[in-house]
Symmetry: C2
Amino acid sequence: MRYKIVLQYDGGGYHGWQAQPHQPLTVQNAVENAVEKVLEKRVTVTASGRTDEGVHALGQVAHFDSEKELPSERMLWAINHWLPEDIRVVFCERVSDNFDARKSAKRKTYEYRMYESETPNPLRRTREAFVGEVDVEKMDEASKLFVGVKDLAGFRSSGSSAKTTVREIYSASVTREGGSVIFRVTGSGFLYNTVRIMAGALIRVGQGRMDKGVIEQALACGDRRLVPDIAPSCGLYLKNVEYSAE
Amino acid sequence: MRYKIVLQYDGGGYHGWQAQPHQPLTVQNAVENAVEKVLEKRVTVTASGRTDEGVHALGQVAHFDSEKELPSERMLWAINHWLPEDIRVVFCERVSDNFDARKSAKRKTYEYRMYESETPNPLRRTREAFVGEVDVEKMDEASKLFVGVKDLAGFRSSGSSAKTTVREIYSASVTREGGSVIFRVTGSGFLYNTVRIMAGALIRVGQGRMDKGVIEQALACGDRRLVPDIAPSCGLYLKNVEYSAE
């Protein structure tokens, strides 16, 4: 039987989601180790997608198959018992075998968090990106350029294996919330580093170092050199993943 | 000549402020190492008081003496250059030799930060204490019991070397701010673990597990057994230290 789990994690201590040979400290490894303790069998835990080194999750979704039948509440509790404190299962349910955390994902929402300050703040360092002072209105305006069916070829790092670079972005905004500046973006999917490159471009716009027209141009011609910045991983959160009703 | 510096730090990676033999990872050691690089001489950096292992600072004050004369801005920049990223000097100025960060301190303000949640949150784990659900109004009411000239004998850990246990508490409050619950307390000084014991008692009150009358009693009779909880260090921040105008 198949279980769906929703995970929160502090990515600061991990080399990203994806299990890697010779790299034991990945979130997937940690979760698979905990699940193995519960099921007394090694199984693959498949997430909606990889998160990079240092990236956090507020609502990563994953699934795995179990021969053991446990009530969902009990499964959640048991996995958490074996997980390190910087990873938590916050939801668990039995799902049909048709559910696939990666293939069935319809929409993903990311948050990119920044803080304004004259100097870097040691207490926000691993949770938000330091941006000096920014014009949030300008950033919000520029973020709307991402909305629609867009070719994101100019907003991905090389090493991306995706077949097509077209994605639908449903919404994007930049707001000031309780001392933080948050870029929020929801799309059908994202390419390698896309949200961090978007954030990097928006930060430039907010700092008055770039006109939003450059983002338009980068979207039109797919030239990554126009938007060279990759905002630091510590500010990125996978907020949630949505699936169509079964 | 004497310099006064204001420090912010993430206490999570350190064994408290105080330099200790066989314990190189203290904040004082890290700051003295950086200052030594700048002055090319080892000097003592004296703080307003110790912070315990895991406790953070938003505005710790310290002083040191230098034979080298540097403009304050330049001194700040130079020390930060040598400091690890989780400690920052945010202010620096020349002061008279009468100024002593510890002895001249008149008032200190601490913040104790908590978050309400059904389950522990891996992303708030090292910055705030997990408290389930609490009645903030009840906690705020109870916090007022600390205000005034009080004997804090019941609110300190053993190992405290202070001569008198009487301190004046100028203000105390518990408020809900942007998803967090914050206990704020300003006093002429605090004994060993006092703020964390106060927070521990307030959390009990907020969770409905203790009547605020018990706090009154502990203040009156000085019996620590009435308020046994010490709230975790990760929630505690030394917010600022005030000095009388010179």
